[in-house]
């Protein structure tokens, strides 16, 4: 038995639903004349000033990279939290807390280092 089959079926159904809506909209939609002005990029009626692919502050990339790192650390807490009750019941509560405490100490050090080094400042 696959638990994933309904997920795939639902995803396909939702995609079909969306495509159907867009198809209906194109079927019933007004058929206006297309002109160069209508099809130009919308910039509040002003002439298009610059290409969209300009230089972007490196802050965005840095934020994304730091997010990935912290995200991985958080993911590692999930199985820990899941098994925490079982570990306590087995009398290993202190051990499992200690193991995570070391990990969390590194995490907290990293977070406060990022804040201290002004890597997360947006001005």
């Amino acid at each position: 038995m696959s638990q994933l089959l309904p997920v795939v079926v639902l995803a396909i159904f939702v995609a079909t639903f969306g495509l159907l809506l867009m198809f209906l909209a194109s079927l019933f939609g007004a058929k206006g004349k297309k002109s160069a002005t209508k099809l130009s990029s919308y910039e509040c009626g002003v002439e298009v000033a610059a290409s969209p692919t300009t230089k972007i502050p490196i802050k965005f990339y840095l934020t994304a990279i730091l997010f990935i790192l912290f995200d991985i650390e958080i993911i590692f807490m999930y199985p820990w939290a899941l098994a925490y009750g079982d570990f306590i019941e087995a009398g290993l509560g202190i051990y499992i807390s200690g193991a995570m405490a070391v990990f969390l100490a590194i995490f907290i050090f990293g977070l406060f280092w990022e804040i201290k080094s002004r890597a997360l400042e947006w001005e």
């Binding site: 089959l5 965005f60 990339y61 840095l62 995200d71 999930y78 995570m100």
Partner: protein, 174 residues
């Protein structure tokens, strides 16, 4: 209906191979990156059918939801026309392509030689139990690796911040 699980595995594996091929065959880097997202998602499906459900979820969250967001963001925002030409033409990139193809082929042959087909059968225990078993292994047998991984991530974070500070190239001070 009971054989649906293995069938789904092969379906996902086929989709995975198709998308992975599309990643390297597509001439447009944005399309390549988007195909890679689909590859990651179908890989999550494959993990799911190998009974590694937590890993499948992590694959979705970390690779499809985090790493690929960064990739897609970067590729979309760079004007990559020049880089594209630099990558697709030239002697060095050609040599690199041949070398990596040879490497992958060797790796595949090596894998097939060692694998004995059809001997393993995964036990169909409850999913939460599998994740708990994973936790049991991770925080007892592999606890040292787990702690070192925390350190590794810290080092990577420091490195990323340091690299972003480098003033040079197009970001040199005027």
């Amino acid at each position: 209906m009971m054989s649906l699980g293995p069938a789904m595995f092969y379906v996902f594996a086929a989709i995975l191979v198709f998308f992975a091929l599309s990643v390297i065959m597509s001439p447009n880097p944005v399309h390549s990156a988007l195909y890679l997202v689909l590859t990651m998602i179908s890989l999550a499906g494959v993990y799911f059918h190998l009974n590694a459900q937590f890993i499948a979820g992590v694959q979705l969250i970390v690779y499809a939801g985090a790493v690929m967001v960064l990739f897609v963001m970067v590729i979309m925002l760079f004007d990559i026309k020049q880089e594209l030409r630099a990558f697709t033409k030239g002697l060095i990139s050609g040599a690199l392509k041949v070398a990596s193809a040879a490497f992958v082929a060797g790796y595949l042959i090596g894998t097939f030689k060692d694998v004995s087909v059809g001997s393993q059968s995964a036990s169909l225990a409850g999913n939460t139990d599998i994740t708990k078993e994973l936790a049991l292994m991770l925080y007892s047998k592999y606890v040292l690796a787990f702690e070192v991984l925390g350190l590794l991530l810290l080092v990577v974070a420091v490195g990323a911040v340091a690299v972003s500070r480098v003033k040079g190239g197009t970001h040199a001070k005027h």
